[in-house]
Symmetry: C2
Subunit: 196 residues, 2 copies
DNA sequence: GGGTCAAACGGACCGCGGTCCGGTTCTATT
DNA sequence: AATAGAACCGGACCGCGGTCCGTTTGACCC
């Protein structure tokens, strides 16, 4: 019987070839993304680019959404770091209201820039899982810090919903709104919600 | 040269067999939906069920999304009629605020009930096209009638965003919120936005 | 080094959405 | 009724996401 003494280690352990392939696949995906845009990223193409079989891609990442989520995760992680410990106004300081506004603007820009990727990551991505996402927790925290009264989780959702990719693409693509207007609209919404 | 004297007629005219097939396909789709749920509705299956070739389905409805949108359109149309001319509080009466609240509750229920279908209808469905949808127009109108000041189109979007299927399914499926709470949350949001 | 076995690998295979094109059918016109 | 040609029809075909299973490989123990 194996001793398994990797105390705080997570998952049962990953074989070295598996780890190597995961890395190779992620890099292959990145290469493909900026060579043929997001929807040029075919599972077969990624496999070929990384020099492995298609089955391997699926074992590592479960699905196309999973792969996209993994790619997305890189930039998303450093954004989260910026929120948790970066410079103001996004990072920690003593005016939660200003921080909330900065959060919205930042999220807005990201969702517009990486819209295709986020959409491709689907249910494995931004939203989902473990009950609530990072953004939801952060907004709830800020609302509480501001002193808003009411059903905080619901209010947080209401504030984040207009930042969703689907909504933004509708506004920019079909209704031809520009970024500044959408930002201003979000600020206004926040003020109204906070004022209560 | 053809005289084309169908004055207010829309599109170049539809051949009778084409019209017959469109009907047959829509009914086939409906039959399949409540026999095998929405994602059992395969283009091939619909074609077979209607007794036509697969190509025909695509010529009539462009894509799977298009077919779903056509199916959705039936219930959606009668809902729109209820909004425009039905009984209060959803239909016309003299308290726009109450009507707005009723709108939200109604939309909420529909989006939860027909979520799968709406999602399957995708960009050809609820949202899209001709610049703005029926719901957007209605909410903008009500906000104006209430006397809200500000960027009405943006505020309307902000109010409708939390009613989107993606959001609702997250709330109900992952965060286990019940309908009453979501309704209450929306009412609260509306009051805050209107109070401004 | 040699042996063992779980884990990873690869690529054939499947069903679906979507396209294409040669043959067929309806409508308008005479 | 006959003609012409546009519109429609069917189903073979393609690429993609996803699955399956026989084969290989790496980790661990002797």
């Amino acid at each position: 019987m194996p001793i398994e003494l990797h105390l705080a280690d997570q998952q049962p352990l990953e074989r070295s070839d598996a780890a190597r392939n995961r890395e190779a696949l992620l890099e292959a995906a990145l290469r493909l993304i900026d060579r043929c845009s997001v929807d040029g990223v075919t599972m077969g193409a990624v496999a070929h680019e990384a020099g492995v079989g298609k089955g391997t891609v699926f074992r590592r990442f479960e699905s196309r959404e999973g792969l996209m989520a993994a790619v997305l995760n890189r930039s998303e992680t450093e954004w989260q770091a910026a929120v948790l410990g970066g410079p103001p106004p996004l990072g920690p300081h003593d005016d939660p209201m200003e921080r909330l506004l900065a959060f919205g603007h930042s999220r807005l820009r990201i969702n517009l820039t990486h819209g295709a990727l986020i959409t491709a990551a689907g249910h494995a991505g931004a939203r989902s899982f473990a009950a609530v996402s990072f953004s939801a927790m952060h907004v709830r925290y800020l609302l509480t810090a501001i002193g808003v009264r009411g059903d905080i989780p619901l209010l947080a959702t209401a504030l984040m919903a207009p930042l969703e990719v689907v909504i933004l693409e509708q506004q920019v693509g079909k209704e031809h709104m520009d970024l500044a207007r959408i930002e201003a609209g979000w600020d206004d919404l926040v003020r109204r919600v906070v004022a209560g």
